[in-house]
Point group: C2
Chain length 355, copies 2
C-alpha cells in the first residue's frame, strides 16, 4: 500500500501536520528519535514508517541544515517532496549541491509555531487560518507545488506563493528581528539581577518569544544572517540614538525630546501595519468581569447565564489569581450589551466585579 | 457631606479606580476635560465634583508633571492625598518645590494599564491581583500611607511599599525599557515599507505596546531618563554585537556563532525570571480545539458539554477566523483529560478539530 504522506521529523510542526490530516490522509511518520515517533503515533498523528513503504508525497519537517541530507536519502521512493524550513535560500542551494532532482521538490514554510517544541506540544489546529508560504524554485514542477499546496490547504492554512528570496526577507523582518529583540530585552533583564515582581503584561508580551529554543534559533539566524544583520543593526542604531537623547534629558530635563518622540511615533505607525492577531479583541468590545471560585463548571455556568439572557459573548478570558482559590472570568461583549450582561449575570447570582 | 474620595483625572486609571470602588466609596470626579468627566460619570465611576465639596482622601490620576500643580491647588480641602504617577522621584521633588505639606501626601503607582487610554477603556477589574506600589517619602505620615493603601486594597490590588528610587529603577527595567524596545522594533517595521502579511503572534506580542500614547510616553521617559538611559544603551550594545556576528556569519557561515547563541541563552534565562502572566497557560495544559459557527450560545454549549462530562476546563480561547462564518474554541485541559474531553465533546455533537 502507498501512503498518502510521509512526514520525516515528528517535532512540533511534523506532528501537528499529522494531527491536522487525521481522517484525510494515510500518514506515515519517521524521525531519528524513535521516542518522538512513539509520542506522535500515540497522539494519533499517523503510523510509524517502516523505511520501505512507498509514499505519494513526503514532507520533511527537520531543521533547515538537515533537509537536503534527508531528501537525498529518500529520492525515488516517492513522487513529490517538500519541507517546512524556516529559511529557504540556503536549503535551495543545499538541494542543488546534493544533486536532488529539483523538479520534484517544492519548499514551504507554515507561519505557525510556539515557543514550545516537540510532539507533545503539537496541535491539529496549529495551522488554521495562518499563512503557509510555498516557495517553488525555477525548476519545481507543477505537480510538486500542487502536492504541498494540498497539504497546506487540508491543514486549514492559507497558501501564499513567494520566491525563496522574498520569503527570507519577509521572515527576517516579521520573525527573526523580533526574536533577536525579545532575547536582547530579556538578556538585559537577566544581567540586571534585579527583582521583577512589578512586571506586567507589557514585559511579559515583549519577552515571550525569548523562551524559544536557542539551538534551533542559532541555526535559523545563521542561515538567514544576510537578511537579518542589517535589520538588527538598524534596531541597534535606533536605540543608540534614543539612549543618547535620554542621557541628555537626564542632565537637562528641558533638552530636546524629539529623538524619543520620533521613535515612539514611528513605532506607533509600524504597529498599525502589523496584522491583527487572530481572536484579538475588537477595539469596540468591553469587559464584564465575574469573580468565581476555582471549581469545575463555573465557566460554563457563567456562559450559560449569559446565553440564556441573549448576550453574545465575543471572547472570554480566565484569570487564575496566583495563590487564591478564586479567579476572574472576563467576558468580552459589545458595549451595547454591557449593562444588560452585568444586570443579567448579577440577577443569576454571579459576582460581577467592579465596573 | 464629605466624599470618601476625590479622583482628579478621569482617564483610564482614574475612571478604573472609580469603577472598582463602586458601592464601597462615595467617589467624586474632576478633570479639566468636562467630557471625560461625563463619560466617567456615565460609566458609573462616581459623581461630578462641584469644586467645593470636601473629601477625605484625594487621588490625582494626572500625568506626572501635572501632579504637584494639581495638589497644591487642593491642599486644605481634604485630609490626605496621593497620586498614581508612573515616575516618583521627580514628582516628590516637584511637591517639595511647590511647598505642599509633604506629611499629607503618599505617592503610589498601580502596575496596571493598557495600550488604550481614556475613560471609555476603563475597567473596574483593572487592578485585581496586580501590584500597587506605595512610595511614602521620609515626611509621609502613617495616615496618608494608610489612606492610599486602603484604596489599593479595595481595588483588589496587592500593595508593595518601595522608596521612590527603588520604584523608578524597577519601572525603568520592567516597563520603560520594553516600551522603548517595542517602539524601536515597530519603527524598523515602519521604515522597511515592506508588507507584513506573514506576521504571527511573535511579532504581534513583541510590538503590542508600541501602540501606546507617544505624548504620555515622552513625558515618562523624560522624567525617568536617568534610570532608563543606561538600560537602553545596554540593549543597543547587545544588538550591535549580534549585528556584527550576523554580518560575519553572512559572509562565512562557518564563523563563530557564540555571540548570537549567548544572547539567545541569556535571553532565555531572563525570560524565566519574568513572573508568569495571570491566566497564562500552565505548561502542562493541552488544547482541545472545537470548530463552531459564529452564533450566540456556541461557547456556552461547548462548555456545558464539557462540564456535563466532568471535564475541568482550565482556560478557554476563542479564535474568530477573519472573513469566515466560523471560529475555533480552544479548551485548555490537563493532559489526562484530553482524550476524555475529545470523546465526550464529539459524542455531544461538537466538531472537535484535528488532534
Amino acid at each position: 500500500v502507498t501512503a498518502d504522506l510521509l512526514v520525516v521529523g515528528t517535532g512540533l510542526i511534523g506532528t501537528s501536520v499529522g494531527l491536522a490530516l487525521r481522517g484525510q490522509y494515510d500518514v506515515v511518520l519517521d524521525d531519528p528519535d524513535a521516542e518522538a515517533v512513539g509520542v506522535a503515533v500515540a497522539r494519533g498523528a499517523g503510523r510509524p514508517w517502516d523505511g520501505g513503504e512507498p509514499f505519494r508525497h513526503c514532507l520533511v519537517a527537520a531543521p533547515p541544515s538537515a533537509v537536503a541530507g534527508v531528501l537525498s536519502g529518500l529520492m525515488r521512493q516517492g513522487a513529490t517532496y517538500s519541507h517546512v524550513a524556516s529559511v529557504q535560500r540556503t536549503v535551495q542551494a543545499d538541494l542543488a549541491t546534493a544533486g536532488v532532482p529539483l523538479a520534484d521538490v517544492c519548499g514551504s514554510h507554515p507561519m505557525a509555531g510556539k515557543e514550545l517544541s516537540g510532539p507533545a506540544a503539537a496541535a491539529g489546529g496549529l495551522f488554521v487560518g495562518r499563512p503557509w508560504v510555498l516557495c517553488p524554485s525555477a525548476e519545481t514542477s507543477a505537480g510538486a507545488l500542487a502536492a504541498v499546496r494540498e497539504v497546506a490547504e487540508r491543514c486549514g492554512a492559507e497558501p501564499v506563493v513567494l520566491t525563496a528570496e522574498q520569503h527570507d526577507a519577509a521572515v527576517a523582518l516579521v520573525s527573526h528581528l523580533p526574536q533577536v529583540a525579545a532575547s536582547a530585552v530579556a538578556a538585559v533583564l537577566d544581567s540586571s539581577g534585579r527583582p521583577l515582581q512589578l512586571a506586567g503584561p507589557g514585559l511579559q508580551d515583549t519577552t515571550r518569544i525569548a523562551a524559544s529554543d536557542p539551538v534551533l534559533w542559532v541555526e535559523l539566524l545563521r542561515q538567514n544572517a544576510a537578511a537579518v544583520a542589517p535589520l538588527v543593526r538598524q534596531l541597534a542604531e535606533e536605540l543608540d540614538v534614543v539612549a543618547g537623547a535620554l542621557d541628555e534629558l537626564a542632565i537637562t530635563p528641558a533638552a530636546d525630546p524629539a529623538p524619543v518622540e520620533s521613535l515612539l511615533r514611528r513605532g506607533g505607525a509600524g504597529r498599525r501595519r502589523v496584522p491583527r492577531k487572530r481572536g484579538e479583541l475588537d477595539r469596540d468590545f468591553v469587559v464584564v468581569p465575574v469573580s468565581v471560585t476555582d471549581e469545575p463548571g463555573q465557566l460554563a455556568g457563567v456562559l450559560v447565564s449569559a446565553a440564556q439572557a441573549g448576550v453574545n459573548v465575543e471572547d472570554v478570558r480566565v484569570e487564575h489569581l496566583p495563590g487564591r482559590p478564586t479567579g476572574v472570568i472576563e467576558l468580552l461583549v459589545h458595549p451595547s450589551s454591557r449593562e444588560h450582561a452585568r444586570a443579567a449575570l448579577s440577577q443569576a447570582g454571579w459576582d460581577v466585579v467592579g465596573g
